[in-house]
């Protein structure tokens, strides 16, 4: 594992009130790689991924111990603004959540709130982002239509484009294909494989096969613990831990 580390979780414990959701998790997210988190419902994988852009602090009565580093920056340091972190670490959710605005505005919004006013620059950025998310050809003639008119798969790719428009470095995907059909799913997976050339990617998925298809590294979570982490091909052909083996062969979970 001699790749460059982009993000790092160090001795992470996380609590919802008194309930401990994560127990001493240590994990590296490598640059320009896809890292997948798998595990049964309630194992802590979504809680974990949300730490990478401080989404959990929006939930009341939560406590984080340990550190999350982005490059060498402690993202929870009091000097760091969560908004800046979320710009660098974007997130795509299970259910596509486009703004109830036009396709164009969905992408330009992030730029405008960041104070960018140059119209030509914004137009170019919108086009580039939509192209990178492989949705440009489908929407270029209807940029002023409501984003809500798009299909689920298109809305998801639009949300990915929205992440790309700001200066994102890491993209977190939380079950991005859970509500999509197999063809739209295949498109998103191909897109993820394309995006890793420029971004570091973390994906949480219930679908083990999807983790196998798209990721370079896989972490298996169970009851808040990271049971095993390694190269995806090792995890899926010869896992070291009996619990990982039982889970990926469908013996429990």
């Amino acid at each position: 594992m001699d790749n460059k580390i982009k993000m790092q979780a160090k001795n992470v414990d996380f609590f919802y009130g008194k309930n401990q959701a994560l127990k001493n998790v240590n994990l590296n997210v490598y640059a320009n790689k896809v890292t997948a988190m798998i595990g049964p419902s309630g194992c802590g994988k979504s809680t974990f991924i949300r730490l990478f852009n401080r989404m959990n602090e929006l939930v009341a009565h939560t406590t984080l111990k340990g550190k999350i580093l982005l490059d060498d920056l402690d993202i929870n340091s009091p000097l760091v603004d969560a908004v800046d972190i979320r710009k660098r670490v974007g997130m795509v959710f299970q259910k596509p959540n486009p703004f109830p605005k036009t396709i164009f505005e969905n992408i330009s919004y992030g730029l405008k709130v960041n104070g960018i006013k140059d119209k030509a620059f914004i137009e170019q950025k919108v086009e580039d982002s939509l192209k990178k998310a492989v949705i440009w050809a489908e929407v270029k003639d209807r940029l002023n239509d409501s984003a809500l008119k798009l299909s689920g798969g298109q809305q998801q790719r639009l949300c990915i484009a929205r992440c790309l428009a700001v200066e994102t470095e890491v993209i977190l995907f939380d079950e991005p294909c859970a509500s999509l059909d197999p063809i739209s799913t295949a498109k998103i997976e191909e897109l993820i494989l394309e995006l890793k050339k420029d971004y570091s990617i973390v994906i949480v998925t219930h679908n083990m096969q999807q983790a196998a298809r798209v990721s370079d590294y896989t972490g298996f979570f169970l009851l808040g613990e990271l049971i095993e982490f390694g190269k995806t091909q090792d995890i899926f052909t010869a896992p070291k831990d009996k619990k990982t083996e039982a889970y990926i062969t469908g013996r429990f979970g």
């Binding site: 295949a186 498109k187 191909e190 494989l193 196998a212 298809r213 995806t232 091909q233």
Partner: protein
């Protein structure tokens, strides 16, 4: 839609092609060693077999990863599972080239019992069948695979000719020829086995391309022959 998976399948294909080249070279070199009675050449074939073994392990690993990580279906599934079987056949073919080379080491200290006539013919056939079997796999060419399968009978005939000649003209007439006749007899047998493996590959190719089982004569390939 061009898939990332297609790139991985192309890599697997080139691994098979690379292994096929090495095996073909081993077969040619082993028979060249025989023709020239060169121990050094035979020894090199034996030593280089480990490269072929490494290829087999690498292909097995590639196939296993693709099966586990890509969940291939239909034609992709048949391609990967057949690639696994084909690499096993290729590895055995290289082992047979090693066997031939070992016979050459046994023969090299004395002149050959007789001029080689049918063994070179069998070698050419083995070489052609090997090359065609691999091309049929790489190009998904079921027609070429069928030609390979139908050549197997010729290989059997050539082996029988060598066997009969050695038995009737040498071994049964003069027992002192036995030490020099048996290795030749075995070499003909090794070459014929190489053709059998090429046939196996061709049968797997037909399954891969057409999803049709032609093994164990389940399909009559050539009604007229």
């Amino acid at each position: 839609m061009e898939r990332h998976f297609d790139v991985e399948l192309a890599d697997l294909k080139s691994s098979i092609l690379q292994m096929g080249d090495l095996v073909e070279e081993a077969i040619i070199d082993s028979v060249e060693a025989l023709k020239q009675l060169r121990k050094d050449k035979a020894a090199r074939v034996i030593a280089e077999d480990k490269i072929v073994d490494e290829c087999e392990l690498k292909i097995d690993e590639e196939c296993l990863d693709l099966l586990a990580l890509r969940q291939p279906m239909a034609v992709d599934l048949r391609f990967i599972t057949m690639a696994m079987k084909i690499s096993t056949d290729l590895e055995r073919m290289a082992d047979l080239a090693v066997d031939i080379s070992q016979r050459v080491l046994e023969l090299a200290d004395k002149p050959l019992l007789k001029p080689l006539v049918d063994i070179p013919k069998l070698t050419l056939l083995a070489q052609k069948m090997t090359r065609d079997a691999i091309s049929s796999f790489v190009n998904k060419d079921a027609e070429l695979a069928r030609i390979v399968i139908s050549s197997d009978r010729e290989a059997d005939n050539l082996r029988d000719l060598v066997q009969q000649e050695l038995l009737n003209d040498y071994i049964s007439k003069n027992k002192t020829t036995i030490p020099r006749a048996i290795p030749l007899l075995l070499i003909a047998r090794h070459l014929e086995r190489i053709c059998d493996h090429a046939t196996n590959i061709a049968e797997d190719v037909i399954y891969m391309v057409e999803a049709k089982v032609v093994k164990h004569h389940l399909e009559k390939l050539d009604e007229n022959s």
